[in-house]
Symmetry: C2
Subunit: 377 residues, 2 copies
């Protein structure tokens, strides 16, 4: 195991391991079994799957199988790599016995019921009081607040989202299909440096725009209709999340007004959110604007969610969340209004709380949603 310098101990992987060890001490745990792939990556730098980390006061281990052994040895700088012979559950039991672990913390929101039961059965030993203890959210809480290196990666992924939006707007014309545009967005992102996309690009148009998470179809864009583009990129594993709604020519019916209501709601939240605010209060900033327009029943989801190594992570920014928004947290601000059979509008930016206020990481213009009419050649 490498010996970090003092400076390194407070940042990067050593700093993260140190913070986990402090949490273990506070909770009276001898060791934490980390199973979430994003948590494993955050603590040890390993980017593969099918691997668990074990962190105790004097040790950090990545347990993996032979498929990932070489990769793990290259990537894990601040921990040992152990190649399992009989699977991860068997390794957990052996590791706990070897280290004399009495209380093995686990992530109850990640591990399946079956896996917990199997570990419990395997770690039992006569005359030794060894047990597994649910310890939810230790690493997630650390991950929610980003350091400078993480912010730089999210900013890069956010800039890719901004840039592909400009490209997409240059392509949109009557007769183009949702699926064609989604594929062009996907290809541009991958050709311009995005890692694997964090989710399949969403493009919905006309009445389909009333479906917040629909898959793109072969429906053709037509004059005056809304087109919702929800997309993200990844850089070094870190995600961005971004949505714009545009109209091909002047909006038909009431959706133009809806657009400006949703935009006003988003801007109210972006202006008003402060470090230290409770998540429901942040959600209410946007929701109250939509309520005043009589559209709150059509805003069925929360205001946003944390973004980082996962596309959905801590904090949850909704009316029922118990999270508090802290300096350094990265999350989305994405109010939406969905009118069945008519269409919908969503506007989403990935933002960070910096110097106590919201700073947008995605910055593509949203003041003017109208794209000039063009026809497919």
């Amino acid at each position: 195991m490498s010996r970090p310098t003092n400076r390194a101990e407070t940042t990067g992987f050593p700093g993260r391991l140190k913070a986990v060890r402090q949490a273990l001490k506070q909770k009276g745990l001898d060791c934490l079994l980390v199973a979430s792939p994003e948590n494993v990556r955050y603590l040890l730098g390993f980017t593969g799957s099918s691997s668990w980390a074990f962190v105790s006061a004097d040790d950090a281990v990545l347990a993996t199988d032979s498929r990932y052994a070489e990769q793990a040895r290259c990537q894990v700088q601040f921990g040992r790599v152990c190649v399992t012979e009989r699977g991860l559950i068997d390794f957990a039991a052996r590791h706990a016995a070897e280290k004399g672990v009495r209380t093995l913390g686990f992530e109850p929101n990640i591990l399946s019921f079956s896996t917990c039961r199997a570990i419990e059965a395997r770690i039992a030993e006569p005359c030794i009081d060894r047990r597994i203890v649910p310890a939810e959210g230790i690493v997630e809480a650390l991950r929610a607040v980003k350091d400078d290196a993480e912010l730089a990666l999210i900013q890069a992924a956010a800039t890719l989202a901004d840039r592909v939006y400009v490209h997409a707007c240059s392509l949109i014309r009557c007769g183009m299909t949702e699926r064609q545009l989604a594929l062009e967005i996907e290809k541009w992102l991958r050709e311009n440096g995005s890692g694997p996309l964090p989710f399949s690009v969403i493009v919905t148009s006309g009445p389909n725009a009333a479906l917040p998470h629909a898959e793109p179809t072969d429906r053709e864009f037509a004059q005056g209709e809304p087109i919702v583009m929800d997309l993200g990129a990844t850089t070094g594993g870190y995600c961005s999340d971004f949505t714009r709604t545009v109209f091909l020519g002047e909006p038909e019916g009431s959706l133009g007004d809806v657009y400006h209501t949703v935009l006003a709601a988003q801007q109210e939240a972006i202006r008003g959110i402060r470090a230290g605010m409770r998540a429901p209060d942040a959600d209410e900033l946007a929701r109250s604007v939509i309520r005043r327009a009589g559209l709150d029943a059509a805003f069925g989801h929360g205001l946003g969610h944390g973004v980082g190594l996962a596309i959905h992570e801590s904090p949850t920014v909704s009316g029922r969340s118990t999270d508090v928004l802290l300096e350094g947290m990265v999350f989305t601000v994405e109010p939406g209004v969905y009118l069945p059979q008519q269409g919908g509008v969503r506007i989403e930016d990935t933002v960070v709380l910096r110097d106590g206020v919201v700073q947008s990481l995605t910055c593509a213009q949203k003041r003017d949603p109208v794209i000039p009419l063009r026809r497919t050649d």
Copy 2:
């Protein structure tokens, strides 16, 4: 709820629901909570996420939130759609109470420990003996054996894999990087009709080919080295999985011999596997060939895995599996040999057991792995 015809009751969604109901009866369960997205899709046709299905003797319900409500109403033909107001756990408790469910089966390999505990706490009622019961693998066992419609979709995804391999071979030349080739493969698949790829395309070359699951790097292809391409497509949600190893010019060192050993091992398995065979016996068909060449220590993974709505599903084809290979099952046959610092070879086809024997769904040639030398222009 639609009323299927008698014929439809034995196939498609009605047939699947009927089979689940038979399993519930056998296990003494009043209702099954289905949480795996693939299982939900298999039973009710819904392709979104964040949704659970509840199947009982007289009912089939998709519970989802407002984001997916419209989509669910379009997609679910043989069941009711309920939009949750307070989340899925709350809905599960209400549904169990409304239906008078005493024993609620759940998927212990899918649901997290926390979710199980939360459901348990919520369904408890004074004076009513209502409990949750682990019921693993009911839907997975059905999914393992494919019907004709599923086979047609997997065949289409397999054909895309074959075709992109021919395209990839036409592009490979000295100086091209792993990352460039992986991106070309990804783009071709998406442009030619694949749905979202089931996993990120793997391209490894030279010594990197010793890493079975490495991410593509900026390493340039050079003469005589192995290049491993592991890729898959999806059609209508169904996956294919396919690997070929090629050499750019005549293979250097012993890897040419290794290639022919791995190919012989794969062909031995494809020729020898029969419906009714235990999975470890199938694995041993290939492993014995590699063992005779003195290379079994370098074949660290199992022979294969089931493929369908998920890229890894039942059956598991390995030495420790308890599965039996049945008519209609689709799985991979993918022996590999990995020599640290030197390179590796893997050859993988997606196959089906039909008329008792193995039939390959991916068919790209593998007899001659040598690609003529070309230079980047």
